[in-house]
Amino acid sequence: MSYCSAKFPVVAGMADSSYILLDDVVFTRGNRRIFDGVSLSVPRGRVTAIMGPSGTGKTTLLRLIGGQLRPDSGRVRVNGHDVPSLRRKDLYRLREGMGMLFQSGALFTDLNVFENVAFPLRVHTRLPDDMIRDIVLMKLEAVGLRGARDLMPAELSGGMTRRVALARSIALDPDLILYDEPFAGQDPIAMGVLVKLIRELNATMGLTSVLVSHDVPESLSIADHACIVSDGRVIGEGTPDELRKHTSPKVRQFLNGDPDGPVPFHYPAPDAQADWGGTLGGGSRRG
Amino acid sequence: MVQRTTEIIVGLFILAGGAALLFLALQVSGLTFRSAGDTYTVYAYFNDAGGLAPRSRVSMAGVEVGQIREVALDHETFQARVVMDIAAAIDSIPADSSAIIRTSGLLGEQYIDISPGADMESLADGDTFYETQSALNIERMISNFASGQGGD
């Protein structure tokens, strides 16, 4: 191992270009191959959008980056560290520098808003209470919810839940934030707020942001870099403008939202003849 | 504040557990805090130990003075060898006292009653009762009575 256990010195050479690097990652769950050789890189200090149709394992991708899952083969490097081979302690230390915004927000339902945001600070630091209070209120102010500090998660709307969760994931001033479907199920106003927040946070805190989404316009509007995953592979990668001009029919279908095309409308199924042909004599009707 | 209240309630809960254990120890099992050094050991041999069991009481004139530690078979005499611990405070049991197995009530449990003798010397640690009287066996008594041997 090239790092020492005290702190994480960035491994030389990896430093400047990309913060996260996936190299030929293969991952299977049960009998289903979810990733079949995915390679992509996330540039440092930028907002990267990973897009793809539902069910292509975008959340799985985030879990691979966060070390909650291990790939069957291939490499996952975050900030120069090979995530699957990290020992537990080092993995947990690496995660302290990551924030992740879950689709559901995943707030702790038995703690109020203030305590939710304070949670990572209380666990990972030994700051005195008044300092924790200042930090929490600062983070809540950043997401515009300083006034909601005493509410319980059950009392929050979906958009507010996600903003509290965002405040919680930036509580420790991470270098990297992973957003899992930040826009899904949000009304236009909440979505606008989140787009603005993600953009602002990235600019002001010098973060590297990865967002996984199937909302094309919103994602492309804030991303510096985007890639499209489909059928376990990366089918297109580049800046939003490059993607918009992409010639691949799969990329075009996804970006334009065409119902049928190279990405099939039908889930893989046995031949129609096999399902209906024999018993109903449907073959002739289909004629 | 809420945390403080919870702490106090949990503290009371644990205390209640301790108090319950104490109650079970003192009131239910009648445990008294005597250290092991406060007793001395004496032995007695019986032809029939009956239902005598370890922890049965040993008493004099109905007052508990000790308890039985072990009931085992003596391999040479084929008698029951009973080991009992007598409270050290009771240090003047005459050496010629006899140990009698009695039953508390008709169906109650059996215990040893020490019937004091007249000897000037007292039983000491490791001594043996010379005179013992075995358990009253009701079956045997009835059969004796029925065959006429019991009623002269």
């Binding site: 924030g99 992740m100 | 949990v10 319950a20 009131q27 099992s29 009481r57 009530g105």
Partner: protein
């Protein structure tokens, strides 16, 4: 014919391996949760909070059940013992039954239904709402942060509850036996004290409830942690908690009784 037989055997083998694997997972889980507890300043309040929720909140049901069981024992015992003219042995009967068997066993069954199912459902829901995942991603091990305090709280609460159950039962028995049926109070306690021994009866009962506490809490917390994070999965896990805990308590009770009181 032969192939279907082979299939059956293979299926049986797979099931056996599944069971062994899940036992292994449960063992690793317990190890991961109990080794390396959080800092006392963090873990202490968490533990206290869980003892409150698992132990203190189960107190009501335990006290009420203990009272009724003690009173029923007195009534039943009195009817049987009075046939032999030895009603005075009622205290001994109640105390021994409660201390050796009913205290630990009934408390454990109540615990599985009251606290165990709640634990499973709570943890299952935390899993379903990604709270455990998000904790992991924050660099906090949910095994230590969420599971460990609950496990320890269960281990501590069960013996305390069982002790309280026995005391309340003995008291309830006295209520019926002495106050109502007219057994002489002196012989109620006297017979009890003559036959109950601290080391054999009280401590063995305590050991039983400790073992049951570990079994019930382990099952409940693990079932929650291992459940399929859907509403159907959580409900199935909750059912499994109650069923497995009850069977485990009764089975362990037989084994422990044979070891402790069996005359070998």
């Amino acid at each position: 014919m032969a192939s279907s037989l082979m299939d059956g055997i293979a299926r049986l083998g797979r099931r056996g391996l599944d069971i062994i694997a899940s036992l292994g997972r449960a063992g690793v889980f317990l190890w991961g949760a109990l080794v390396g507890a959080p800092r006392p300043s963090v873990g202490g309040p968490l533990l206290i909070q869980q003892i409150y929720r698992i132990g203190v909140l189960s107190l009501a049901i335990v006290i009420v059940s203990g009272l009724f069981i003690g009173m029923v024992l007195a009534l039943q015992g009195y009817t049987i013992l009075s046939d032999f003219g030895s009603e005075s042995a009622i205290g001994q009967m109640i105390a021994l039954t409660l201390l050796r068997e009913l205290g630990p066993v009934v408390t454990a069954l109540l615990f599985a239904g009251r606290a165990g199912s709640a634990l499973t459902a709570e943890i299952g829901l935390m899993k379903a709402t990604e709270q455990l995942s998000s904790m992991e991603m924050m660099g906090v091990d949910p095994l230590r942060r969420v599971m460990a305090p609950r496990l320890w709280a269960g281990f501590i609460s069960m013996p305390v509850l069982a002790l309280i159950f026995s005391v309340v039962g003995v008291w309830g028995g006295m209520l019926v036996g002495v106050e109502w049926l007219g057994v002489f109070e002196g012989s109620y306690w006297g017979n009890m004290q003559a036959s109950v021994t601290f080391a054999d009866d009280v401590l063995n009962g305590l050991v039983k409830s400790l073992v049951f506490g570990v079994a019930c809490t382990w099952i409940a917390v693990y079932q929650g942690y291992d459940c399929v994070p859907t509403s159907a999965g959580i409900s199935a896990a909750t059912t499994r908690t109650v069923v497995f805990s009850s069977l485990m308590v009764l089975g362990l009770d037989f084994v422990l009784t044979a070891v402790m009181f069996g005359s070998f």
